[in-house]
Amino acid sequence: MNVTIRSHMTTIVALGTALLVTAVLLLTSSSDVLHAFAILFWGALTSPSRIADMVMLMSPLLLCAIGLSVSFSAGQYNLGIEGQMTVGGVAAMGLLRMYAEGQAPYLYWLFAIIAGMLMGLVWALLVAALKRYTHVSEIFAGLGLNFVALGASLYLVFGPWKRPGVASMSGTEPLADILWLPTLTGTRLAWLTPIIALVALVVVWRILRQSHWGLQVRACGLSPLASTRMGIPATRRTFQAMALCGALAGLAGALQIIGVYHALVPNVASGIGLMGLLVALLVRADIRFVPVVAFFFAIITSGSIQLPLSLSIDSSISGVLQGLIVLAVIVSRALTKEGQS
C-alpha cells in the first residue's frame, strides 16, 4: 500500500514538474500562461469543427499507438513506424490514381486500404528481417527505412506524380471529389476513419490479451530465451507482431490520404507515428489505456494550433509538453522501481 501511494505521489510530482517547465518556457514569449494552458487543454473542444479536427488527428494516432503496443509487447522498438505509415499512404495513392471517371468509389477505398496495409506490413517485415538476418538493431533499421520512405514519397510528389505543369510542396493533384471519404456536414470529420480506428482498437486488444497468439507474443517480448526453451516459435512471433504493427501504420497512412489530404503530400506521417510511440511508451503497451492518452495528446496538439492566433505562441509548445510528460512518467517509474528493490 505504501509503495502504491508513493508511486502515485512520484507520478503526480513528475507531471507537475512537466507542467511547470512548460509554464516557464511559455513565460519567455507570453505572460498569459493560464490562458495558454486553457487553450492547450480545452481549445480543441470549443467548436464542432475543432472537435472534428481533433478526432481526425486522434484516429491515425490511435492506429499507430495500437500497432506499436503490439510490437512493444514483442520486445521490438519499431521506430520505423513513420516510414510504414508513409509507404501505406503512397500505396493507397498509387491505387487511387487508377480510378476512372464514373466508377463507384467503394471498391477503390477498400483496395486502397488493403494496398496501404500490405505496403506497411512489407516495410515492417523488412525491419524485422534486417534485425534477424543481418543483426541490425530494429531501431536503426526502422529509422533508415523512414528516410527511404520519405525520399520515395518526395520523389513521387515532385517527379512522376507531380501536378501538371508545376511540382508543389503542397502535394500531387488532388483526388477526384468522389474519392474523398464522406464527411459530417460542415466539418472535416470523415466519420469512417474513427470507426475503423475504434474497431481496430477492440480487435487488436482482444487478440493481444485473449488469444494464444497474443500470449505467445508477450512471452517472446518478456523473455525470448525462455520462450524458445518452451518451444514457442519466437522468431515467427516477432515477425508477425512487426507485420501487424506495420499493417496498422499502413492503414493509418492510407486513411490520411483518402480522408484528410486527398492527395499525396510529401510527409504523410507528419510526426503522428512518433507521437504514437510516445503514447505506447506512456501506457506501457497496455492497449486499454491507449484511447485515453491518445485523446489527451490529440487535444493538446489540436488546441496548440490556436496558440499562434490567440497569443502569438508557436504551436510547437504542445510537443514540448507531450515530451516532458512522457519523460516525467518514465523517470517517476524508474524512481519508484528503484525504491522498491
Binding site: S211, L215, R229
Partner: protein, 484 residues
C-alpha cells in the same frame, strides 16, 4: 617486488568473496593461486589490479601501504593483470594497441622495446602485426609485453591456459620463468593442479572466500592440494542404481564435435541409456554446458550426428526439455504466472482461462509449490521456481537435461526436486544433469561423465567411483585412465 596483503576483506551483498585474507607474495617467484570457481581467487586478483576496492584491509608493496582503487593506479604501482579474455582493439597493430594501453606515443623507441621483449621471451609476433590475425595465445603474449613495457613488477595471470594450445602453454611457462628471473613477481591463478606442479614456486589454496591454511612452498602432492580445495569428503548415502540398459539408448552421439569459445571438443561417440540419471562432473567451462545444449537441441554440433531414440535429433524435439540454471532469464518468464505458462504450452487458438487455472491449482498441490495460480513466477523463491519448472514438463517427455538442478535451494527443496526426477527415471526418462556440487553428483547419478579441459571420460557407473577419485578426475589427475 614484494606484495603483502593484510586482513583484506571484500563482500558482495551477503557473500564474503574474500574473508580476512593475509598472504605474502615474495619477489622473483611464481605463485600459484588455486581454487574452485567462486572460491575467491579472482576477487583477490581484481582487488590487486584495482578493478575492485577492498571493504577493509591493506595491500603493501615493498612494505609501503598502497591505495589501488582503479586499474590505472594499480599499473602505476607496478601491478598488471592479463585478463582471461584478451581486451584489445582487433583492427589495431600490436604497437598501436600497446601504445594505447600505456598512454604513450607509438614511437620508434616503443617499437624497439616490443622487439626486445619478444626476443627475450621467445614470442613470435612483430610490432606491425594486426591483432586480428593473431591467435588467442599470441594476444595474451601481447598483453604480457604491454604490461612489461608499462613497467609492471607484478604480473597477474587469470586462468591463462584456457583456450590456448599445448605449445603455447609451454612457451608461456618458459616466458614466465624468464620474467621472474629478473626479480619480478608472477601470480598464476588456475584450477589445474598439474600446472601448479609444473610451474609454481608456492601455492595458496582458496575455498569459499577464505585461504585454506597458509601459503606453502612447492612441491606438495596433488592429493594434498585436492583435499585443501574440496575439503574432506563426506561419504554420501547412495541409493543403489536402477540397472539401466544400453540396448535402446536415448541419445546416441556419432563423431560429434563442438566448441565452447576457443575450447574444441570431440569427436565424441556415446550412447546414453534409458531410464538413468547421468551426472556430468567437471570444472566450469570444461565443455559441459555446450554438451548439454547439444543434448537439448539448443545448438547443433560442428560435426557429427546425434540420434534420439534411434531417429535423427532435431532442434525443438518435443520429447526433450532443458532446465537451465538461470531460471529467471532462460527458464521461465518471470512476469507471467503459472496459469499463463500453462496456457502458453497449450496448443489452442483462443485461451481457455478456467482449465488452465484448474491445472495450475492441481500442479501447485502436486508439486507443493508455494504460490497462487496467478502470482508472477518472479515473486516465488528459487526452490518454488524450480518446482514450477519441473511441474511444467509435459508427461510425454523422456529426456530431461538440467544445469545445477538444486543451486540456491535449501536441503528440503533440493530433496523434493530429486524425488520428482527419480520418479521420472523409474518411468524410463533419462535425466542428464551438471552440478558443481560433487556430493550431489555422487548422491544422485547412476552414471558419471567427467569433463576435463574439453575431454570426456567414458560413462562410469557410479558404484565404480570413489569420492576422492572424482575430485581428482575433474582436476585432471588420472584422467588418461578413464578416457573411452
Amino acid at each position: 617486488m614484494h606484495v603483502s596483503i593484510r586482513n583484506l576483506h571484500k563482500s558482495f551483498g551477503a557473500v564474503h568473496a574474500n574473508n580476512d585474507i593475509c598472504v605474502d607474495f615474495a619477489a622473483g617467484q611464481i605463485h600459484g593461486i588455486l581454487g574452485e570457481n567462486g572460491a575467491g581467487k579472482s576477487t583477490l586478483m581484481k582487488l590487486l589490479s584495482g578493478v575492485y576496492r577492498p571493504d577493509s584491509g591493506t595491500i603493501c608493496i615493498n612494505d609501503t601501504p598502497v591505495q589501488l582503487g582503479t586499474p590505472r593506479r594499480a599499473i602505476e604501482a607496478g601491478i598488471g593483470m592479463v585478463a582471461q579474455d584478451p581486451v584489445d582493439v582487433p583492427v589495431f597493430t600490436v604497437r598501436d594497441n600497446i601504445a594505447c594501453g600505456i598512454h604513450m606515443p607509438a614511437t620508434r623507441d616503443l617499437h624497439d622495446q616490443i622487439t626486445t621483449w619478444c626476443t627475450r621471451l621467445g614470442f613470435q609476433f612483430a610490432p606491425e602485426t594486426v591483432i586480428r590475425t593473431l591467435t588467442v595465445g599470441q594476444r595474451q603474449q601481447v598483453e604480457i609485453v604491454r604490461l612489461l613495457i608499462a613497467g609492471s613488477d607484478v604480473l597477474i595471470l587469470d586462468e591463462p591456459t584456457t583456450g590456448i594450445t599445448a605449445t603455447q602453454i609451454h612457451a608461456l611457462f618458459a616466458a614466465l620463468r624468464t620474467i621472474v628471473a629478473t626479480g619480478k613477481t608472477v601470480l598464476f591463478v588456475t584450477h589445474k593442479l598439474d600446472e601448479v606442479v609444473a610451474l609454481c614456486d608456492t601455492v595458496t589454496v582458496f575455498r569459499a572466500g577464505s585461504m585454506v591454511g597458509l601459503q606453502r612452498n612447492m612441491p606438495i602432492t596433488q592429493s594434498e592440494m585436492l583435499e585443501a580445495m574440496f575439503g574432506a569428503m563426506t561419504p554420501p548415502q547412495y541409493a543403489s542404481a536402477v540397472v539401466a540398459t544400453l540396448e535402446s539408448p536415448r541419445w546416441t552421439l556419432r563423431n560429434v564435435e563442438f566448441h565452447e569459445q576457443s575450447l574444441r571438443v570431440g569427436p565424441l561417440s556415446y550412447q546414453l541409456p534409458q531410464g538413468a540419471i547421468i551426472g556430468l562432473a567437471g570444472l566450469e567451462g570444461s565443455g559441459q554446458r555446450p554438451f548439454m545444449q547439444l543434448l537439448s537441441g539448443l545448438r547443433v554440433p560442428d560435426a557429427g550426428t546425434i540420434y534420439y531414440d534411434g531417429a535423427p535429433f532435431a532442434y525443438d524435439h518435443p520429447d526433450v526439455v532443458w532446465l537451465p540454471a538461470d531460471r529467471l532469464n532462460e527458464g521461465i518468464i518471470g512476469d507471467m504466472s503459472l496459469t499463463e505458462h500453462i496456457r502458453l504450452l497449450q496448443d489452442v487458438l483462443l485461451n481457455d482461462g478456467s482449465t488452465a487455472t484448474q491445472k495450475a491449482t492441481q500442479l501447485i498441490a502436486d508439486y507443493a509449490i508455494k504460490a497462487t495460480p496467478d502470482m508472477p513466477l518472479r515473486q516465488l523463491s528459487g526452490g518454488n521456481q524450480q518446482r514450477a519448472m519441473l511441474a511444467l514438463i509435459p508427461q510425454h517427455v523422456t529426456g530431461i537435461v538440467l544445469e545445477h538442478p538444486t543451486r540456491g535451494l535449501d536441503a528440503v527443496s533440493a530433496l523434493a526436486i530429486w524425488q520428482r526426477l527419480q520418479e521420472r527415471r523409474s518411468r524410463g526418462t533419462t535425466v542428464v544433469f551438471f552440478s558443481a556440487d560433487l556430493d550431489e553428483v555422487l548422491q544422485y547419478a547412476d552414471f558419471v561423465l567427467v569433463f576435463f579441459a574439453g575431454q570426456l571420460s567414458r560413462i562410469i557407473p557410479r558404484n565404480e567411483m570413489h569420492e576422492e577419485q572424482l575430485a581428482a578426475l575433474i582436476g585432471g589427475v588420472g584422467f588418461q585412465e578413464v578416457l573411452p
